[in-house]
């Protein structure tokens, strides 16, 4: 186990390893994505209340679920980079932040698009939506901080600190937003998140969630590989890989 982590820290080894992973993960993810999308968008029955507009959950829900997990992945990488000073963790964190931000953005935008037909409004200050928005802000903060640093090695460390502070805060934010919402008991509109979902709709959703996890891993890994190639453009293993030597 330890030696595996140690090996992960070595750029050439990781480059080869991730190359193999991508080779397998890419076709599998695309297959799952297609099956899930086909099933969800065309095969699954329409909702008895919302008609076909509900089908947006096949993007909305996976994006929301994976974006939350993405933050923890990022923070974990940050912790590793701060504690063990493994450069690969820096690169992983840098790669994960924008992907997570985009996923969160997708969840927000699809949610808003969905809200228009269901609630008649683009936006409400529901507890879950509000937490999601704040998660989006946390991501944007990390991305903005990274961009602002001139020294990218220092930038990664700074983002590691920020995302760790954010991780400590996420449960608190979620809890506090929940309490805030239940205290104010606002008007009519309510999230129907609790309503049971039919199995014929659930399976494609699970497939789509799996596919989104795969996509997240893929994009992050490819991001990291691009970064590695750029960073080590002078070294022999990159030049060999590129066919220059």
């Amino acid at each position: 186990m330890w030696s595996f982590i140690h090996k992960l820290g070595s750029p050439p080894w990781f480059f080869r390893f991730s190359g193999n992973v991508v080779k397998w993960l890419l076709p599998v993810t695309i297959a799952v994505l297609f099956v899930g999308a086909f099933w969800g968008l065309l095969v699954a029955p329409p909702d008895y209340r919302q008609g076909n507009s509900y089908r947006i959950i096949y993007i909305h829900v996976p994006a929301a679920v994976v974006s939350l997990a993405g933050y923890y992945v990022m923070a974990l990488a940050g912790a590793i980079s701060l504690i063990w000073r493994i450069k690969m963790a820096d690169i992983a964190m840098k790669a994960a932040a924008p992907v997570g931000a985009v996923l969160t953005g997708i969840a927000l935008v699809t949610g808003a698009i969905w809200g228009k037909p269901t609630w008649g409004t683009w936006w409400v200050w529901d507890a879950r939506i509000t937490s999601m928005l704040i998660l989006f802000f946390l991501y944007l903060g990390v991305v903005a901080l990274f961009e602002a640093y001139e020294n990218k090695a220092a930038a990664a460390k700074a983002c590691a600190v920020l995302s760790l502070v954010g991780t400590v805060n996420i449960p608190i934010i979620y809890k506090s937003v929940d309490w805030w919402y239940s205290l104010h008991q606002p008007a009519s509109i309510k999230f129907t998140g609790e309503s049971a979902i039919d199995a014929s709709m659930l399976y494609p959703l699970l497939l789509m969630i799996t596919a989104f996890y795969g996509l997240f891993a893929l994009v992050v890994m490819m991001n990291m590989r691009a970064d590695l190639v750029w960073h080590h453009r002078q070294s022999s293993w990159v030049r060999q890989w590129a066919g220059f030597e």
Partner: protein
């Protein structure tokens, strides 16, 4: 035993590798001047040796004595007077008393400016306040980055004397300056142009 030991240090800034293969060991009573043209990496090296920069610094740096670093920025609060600045300065000994501070200011010929805010002093006077810390710290290892800047002839003489005394008392000094061999044969020179990478 040496106060500072550096083995095979390499320095990188931004994406460029600057220096490599620098090894030095500073003993008590030694005086080292870092030499080299503009941009060769003197400031970067002295910060790395003092322990202020860590990213982009490779190799083993082992410091076994308290350090005093005086760089380009003076670490003075413009709104505070010289006395307050020195009394509350993180680099000064915690036990420094008001009398010692008054003496130190006297020594840098700033008697009479005790209650003027540092922001209203001239460039050279501000530098003198910063250098007064040399008298108030008990660090054995001094890192001075271009300490002679902005000082007039008398000020330079004063500083040379302080450095010489510190060395005699068993301290050690690393400094940079564009004037070659300020202390003649007494000093060791480290010419960084010899270590420029590639």
């Amino acid at each position: 035993m040496s106060l500072l030991d550096a083995k095979d240090v390499a320095i990188e800034r931004g994406d460029r590798s600057l220096l490599r293969g620098i090894s030095l060991s500073v003993e008590a009573g030694e005086l080292w001047q870092l030499i080299g043209p503009n941009g060769v990496g003197k400031s970067s090296l002295i910060r790395a040796l003092a322990g202020l920069a860590r990213l982009g610094v490779d190799g083993d740096i082992c410091r076994s004595a308290a350090a005093l670093y005086i760089g380009h920025s003076s670490a003075l609060k413009r709104a505070l007077t010289p006395v307050d600045n020195l009394r509350c300065h993180p680099a000064c000994d915690v036990t420094v008393g008001d009398e010692q501070i008054a003496q130190a200011l006297q020594s840098v010929s700033l008697a009479g400016y005790e209650s003027v805010p540092v922001g209203a002093l001239s460039a050279g006077q501000q530098r003198r306040v910063a250098l007064a810390r040399l008298l108030l710290s008990d660090a054995r290892l001094w890192f001075l980055d271009e300490p002679f800047t902005a000082l007039d002839a008398m000020g330079c003489e004063w500083l040379e004397q302080q450095i010489a005394e510190h060395i005699q008392l068993g301290g050690a000094v690393l400094f940079t300056s564009h004037q070659q061999s300020r202390f003649g044969a007494q000093q060791h020179n480290l010419d960084l142009s010899l270590y420029v990478s590639a």
